[in-house]
Symmetry: C2
Subunit: 355 residues, 2 copies
């Protein structure tokens, strides 16, 4: 394991039990019926545990990082979209015209775009300050016939993710949102979820951006065959990422580790981020304390991954876009959960009678 990765994993600590106990007690004294804020109460307690203090700080503004990469498994015909769309969408992100940009404006979040492994040249100008050119290789190898990545390539991508998280946190980000772009990357995510959870391909394969029955059957077969070919060991998360992973998946894993190491919450988006989170928690179990499930993607692998992690998604709006879009919609919910503990009066202080 390379030095930055090892140092980051070593830095990740457990949630602070004392702060969580204090938060549970405080929730009961606030001017609302006990339990009436449902999942926001537990979320507030988790934020206190992560911050190590009750009430937790109000998280600073959110920062999005969209990691883009291409996939050798594209060649097996698992998506109807041309591979060039990955590079074209990177240009669209930089131009501010994608859904992630629109949702980031609503959330007051910055958007950094990271080319960690796109196959084609990015069209147009790519000197924007919010662009990080860090291509580990121009797309992965075809996991249907050989390991997608070497272990060194995985580590390089993970460390890129760590560095992006650290730069955003240094710049003041209080919530991290990891997004993805990569044609064929739901195939990779499904393989990762199957490998880490022991689920059959039929349970984790989804229709991604929208595929017909024939292509769906092919996609599921590719995933099942790849698992049989590589027999990835879930106890060796970097090995799993090398065998059936993607560069954006590995970078998202690093990004999540980076947030956890600095005790900054990371909101998970769809199946790509959720599959990466399985690697994250396999590398550093305490990183779970920093992860918040932003929404329930339509992709079945996302739900399998979240159940494995024991996380309940905040939103369930039928989204299946990626880019970080669903996680961005959850940013105000996360901040609201912190505000409850910080800003709501107690019964005593407000002169409100209890029942």
């Amino acid at each position: 394991m390379a030095e930055l990765l090892a140092r980051t994993v070593a830095r990740i600590g457990a949630p602070d039990a004392g702060a969580m106990t204090d938060a549970v007690a405080l929730q009961a004294r606030l001017t609302k019926p006990p339990g009436s804020l449902g999942e926001l109460e537990e979320l507030g307690v988790r934020l206190a545990g992560l911050a190590g203090v009750c009430p937790p700080p109000l998280p600073g503004p959110a920062a999005v990082a969209v990691f883009a990469g291409d996939h050798g498994v594209y060649a097996t015909g698992v998506t109807p979209w041309p591979q060039e769309v990955t590079a074209q969408m990177v240009a669209n992100f930089l131009g501010g015209g994608a859904v992630v940009n629109a949702f980031a404006r609503e959330a007051g979040a910055t958007v950094t775009v990271v080319d960690v492994g796109v196959a084609n040249p990015i069209p147009g100008t790519v000197s924007a300050p919010e662009f990080v050119s860090a291509r580990v290789r121009a797309g992965t190898r075809n996991l249907a016939v050989e390991p997608a990545l070497t272990r060194d390539e995985v580590t390089a991508a993970v460390e890129i993710g760590i560095r992006v998280a650290e730069e955003q946190i240094s710049a003041g980000a209080g919530v991290l949102v990891g997004g993805d772009m990569g044609i064929a990357n739901t195939t990779v995510a499904a393989a990762l979820v199957a490998a880490f959870t022991g689920s059959h391909a039929s349970r984790v394969t989804g229709r991604g951006t929208g595929i017909d029955d024939e292509m769906y059957a092919r996609k599921m077969g590719v995933i099942a065959d790849a698992l049989a070919l590589h027999a990835p060991d879930p106890g060796d998360p970097l090995g799993v990422l090398a065998a059936v992973g993607g560069l954006e998946h590995a970078a998202l894993c690093g990004y999540q580790l980076g947030g956890a190491a600095h005790r900054v919450p990371v909101i998970l988006d769809g199946v790509i981020a959720c599959s990466a989170a399985l690697a994250t928690v396999a590398l550093a179990p305490d990183a779970l304390g920093a992860l918040v499930a932003g929404h329930r993607s339509v992709e079945p692998g996302a739900t399998v991954a979240l159940e494995h992690l024991g996380l309940r998604p905040l939103l369930d709006l039928g989204l299946r876009l990626g880019e970080g879009t669903g996680a961005l919609l959850a940013v105000p919910v996360v901040r609201a959960a912190a505000r409850v503990l910080r800003e709501v009066s107690t019964f005593d202080a407000a002169g409100v009678s209890s029942k």
Copy 2:
């Protein structure tokens, strides 16, 4: 029907079918897989229909109005909370210490507090500019033994709600959030939902702020008996509000009508707002086009009401607080749905290949 109410109902028009057709077509050309934004796509189409133009405008800042009232049915023992809590919580809202205040700060929303029927004096200073003192009467009569309100009292409360909506819209509000405060008001809401939907008391009665089995059985019995006593006619919505309603429920109905008349979206909160929406749509069926279901309350009557209206809630976080809290969390989702149609590039404009 009084003049302001009649004029408001007459002004409420149907959604603009042309704008909705344009919005459906535009969704398909934006740089995202078709359908990948799930419920946000339909929401965007509804916003276009309400605004009468595609893309719809980005809604201006949200405004909350919390309508507070007390209930004669309190005397039957349907809640463990003292009635004085209604007045105390009004003071808490004005002091900025309630959950609705914390969530409004997150959403950048103003909070207006309207005393439309509190039984007790409001403690402390009540000269705040965000306070509207418009008490129709100091709590309703006991619906277990007589009609809760006269028809004139209902109309007065409805017109207060209309005026508050109009003032907020004049001041620049682009999204309305109607909240409530009133000890025992979930009993009233359940009775309204039962009356408007024909549901049995057992289907709509919930545990409100948290009651034990004995009190729950009493509450359900009170609701069932009141429906038998008054036999309210759902074709006469003002009559239903008079028989088994509350002043905050009536005011919320007016508030929703006011938003609809000005084609401003109104986000529904929990069971109180949802029960009021049944009256709203009974008075003006086209008002439905302005109503957005913010979240799914734990209260079963809220789900029954939303199903009756054909509205799907955006969030489902296990909330049961009221005050407008759940609706406030949905404000960014509503604005994000408008941003998609306004801000996302088309495949052609962004130079992104289609599948």
